[in-house]
């Protein structure tokens, strides 16, 4: 497997603000990679370095096998970028902007252009200044998808899109991946990440906190288990199990949290006491991310 993007120990400061502090990121060719982190974590900065707009202060970044700062011309032919807050030229129509950007990138794929405009339900004859926020976003998405590229760098591309258009976006990104493309998607919308991303990287304060598939990340988190038992169990007995915490026992009720790897042992114990009712709630994505965002660095359970 080859890497479309490889970033190691990337540093970037703006005056006294440290935006990136030794960031690592690896995006495999052919995957949709979610790029997550709280506000100000350094996601946009990373993307702008990958675009050759910013110059890193240290570390390595390789994009499609090239140096993003030096090989702007060759690399940019093979990628498209959509920012989270699209600005259009007030006097050009959306259709004109789409053509200009796609042609600068090397050419318009007429069929894709027409189908994207239709699917995103975009009126391309309006002047840039008269588009709403979501429609400006659509113009940039259509422009990015109307040329033939291998990599999409998307920085919160769906901000302002209505749910219908978000669904279209997910479809389109999937198709792009099916056709062999690679996507780096920075996003705050967890349902979007959950539905489209193969792998995710979470960063915080300019450093990588965690990366892997969502299943892998879920395993790092704890499941809540509640049970009603035929024969009450002692709290100490439950607590003595590895990977179990937050135990409360009241009468025949027991509640606790457990690391995914230790769920089996816990159930064995509870089973021995005759389970009459059991609920187990895997962490929601929200809980998962909240935990990661808050943590300074990854701590294995």
């Amino acid at each position: 497997m080859t890497s479309a993007i490889q970033v190691q120990g990337l540093h970037k400061s703006f005056g006294r603000t440290v935006a990136l502090d030794g960031l690592d990121l690896e995006v495999t060719t052919g995957e949709i990679h979610g790029f997550l982190g709280p506000n100000g974590a350094g996601k946009s900065t990373t993307l702008r370095i990958l675009l050759g707009l910013l110059r890193s202060d240290g570390g390595d970044a390789t994009l499609l096998g090239g140096d993003p700062w030096r090989e702007v011309e060759a690399l940019h032919r093979r990628l498209a970028y959509v920012p989270g807050d699209v600005a259009l030229w007030p006097n050009l129509t959306g259709g004109e902007a789409i053509d200009v950007l796609a042609r600068l990138r090397g050419g318009v794929d007429e069929k894709r252009r027409a189908s994207m405009i239709e699917r995103f339900d975009l009126d391309p004859t309006k002047k840039g200044r008269s588009y709403s926020k979501g429609n400006r976003q659509k113009v940039a998405l259509v422009a990015a998808l109307s040329s033939d590229v291998e990599l999409l760098l998307l920085d919160e591309p769906t901000s302002g899109l209505d749910p219908l258009m978000e669904a279209v976006f997910r479809e389109v990104v999937h198709e792009f991946r099916e056709a062999g493309g690679t996507v780096l998607l920075s996003s705050h919308i967890l349902s979007e990440v959950e539905q489209v991303c193969d792998r995710v990287s979470i960063i915080r304060e300019g450093r990588n906190v965690e990366s892997g598939t969502l299943t892998q990340l879920r395993r790092l988190s704890r499941t809540t288990v509640r049970a009603t038992l035929a024969h009450p169990v002692g709290a100490a007995q439950v607590e003595s199990l590895p990977g179990v915490a937050d135990v409360t026992v009241s009468g025949d009720h027991v509640a606790c949290t457990v690391g995914s790897d230790y769920l089996g042992r816990l159930l064995e114990l509870l089973g021995a006491h005759g389970i009459t009712a059991l609920t187990s709630a895997p962490p929601t994505l929200e809980e998962l991310f909240m935990e990661q965002y808050r943590r300074a660095s990854a701590v294995a359970p």
């Binding site: 940019h76 007030p90 129509t93 004109e96 008269s130 422009a143």
Partner: protein, 550 residues
Amino acid sequence: MTTVAPAPSPTARPAPRAAGAGLTGTLSLLRLAARRDRVLVPVSAFGLAAFAALSAQATFALFPDLRSAQESMAPTLANPALVAMYGPISSLGIDSIATFKSVLLGGVFLALLAYVVVRRHTRTEEEAGRLELLGAGVVGRRATLAAAVLLGTAAVLLTVVLTVGWSIGVGLDPAGSVALGVCWLVIGLSWVGVTAVAAQLTSSTRGTAGWSLGALAVAFLVRAVGDTAAADSPARFLSWLSPLGWGVKVSAFGENRYWVAALGIALYAVLVAVAFSLLERRDLGAGVLPSRAGHDRSRIGTAGALTRRLARGTFVGWLVAYVVLGVVLGSIAGSVETFIDSPEVADMLRALGGEAGSVTDLYFSTELHFAAIGASALSIALVTRMYTEETTTRAEAVLATPVRRVAWALGHVAVAVVASALVLLVSATVAGLVHGADAGDVGGTVTRLAGAALSTLPAVWVALAVALLLYGALPRFTGLAWAALIVFLLLGEFGDLLDLPGWLVDLSPFTHLPALPGGTLTWMPLVALTAFAVAVGAAGLAALRRRDFG
């Protein structure tokens, strides 16, 4: 205009603390705006006051014994070339001569200040989307416009008060000084009103600039035609149709017509009222003039073509203005010679401008140098668009395609170089055609004037290169390019008068231009200016290449 449904009552809009007039928050906005402009407004007001007072003081120093000009000077000062530029002299008193150049020019600068302040706090804010934030808070619908108008008005008043005080302080006639204040008040307030309306008409900052500055140019030309018309010509009335003409009609240090203030205040009141009523009829972010649907396809395929397309509107506007300028310059030229037949007068004109050649040549070379300063403004405007493109992140979209940063910048430079050369050349050619037809030598006149126009280009390039260097190396200070151009203009206009040291005056590239037509063409300064411009420009590009973008 079609009938419009009764304006929605401002209280009908969600305003947390519904104040009847939709003016809630005006004061806090005003305070915020004043804070943002705490350098711009006082410095400009002080600069303008200094401009009037110090240049007058310098004139007194130049002619210590002169209480009034000799009769022989009258024709010089009535020379249409000067009248077109500075307005007619109000009297032959020393005070009039001492303020001859600063009355109208200062008024125009004040109009520019009023325009900048009002536009900054209406359209620019709205375009940047900040207004929506403000609008959603405890701010009434009319508060932003009200705050902008108040701040613009305050800026004008501050300038006027400082100027009157300082003028009296340096020994100008008090009554005349007050009249000078009235003149500036009329012009300044008019442009507060004009800009307030312009900001409602269009839906972009650039559109507002076009309407407001276009109105200023038209007002200037209308009064130039009116002021230079023959005494019995009905065209003289034109001056009364222009707020700049009113300023001139105040006749500071001459007849001191204070009552003209009423015209200015009335226009101001009407325009502000119109602006507020337009505000009621439009949506936030939109203009009253609708923005039309356009083509859905474009054939633009290079960054250079995109830059040219984006510059088109500005260029066409300037081209029209410069064609008109050429017509005005060419038609006035015929009468220059008849006004000035005494050698002393010619000497005097020489002292004000060029160095040799016929009086008509002197006239043309002086005016072409002014036109070159204007063309420099165009080239700065076009080159500094890069900064606007960068801060709005539109440039980012282009630079995320295989377009190299330096190539993108060179595209802007090329557009600026070609556009400024073209407007100058066209203006000189038109002037040559008009004057040549009068003088009976079309071919020769056109060639001489076109050549003279071309000889000013190296100075234009220096101004452009300064802007490019600022943008490349210190993007946040790109706006200083305008300050540099104004300094160049003032050094050329007032350097001699204020007896500034030669090295200081020489900082302006325009002082190194040969006085063409008529003078001798020396290549050295032109080559040196060009080489300097290339070096400075290259340094700017090199800095741009290395720095963070956006």
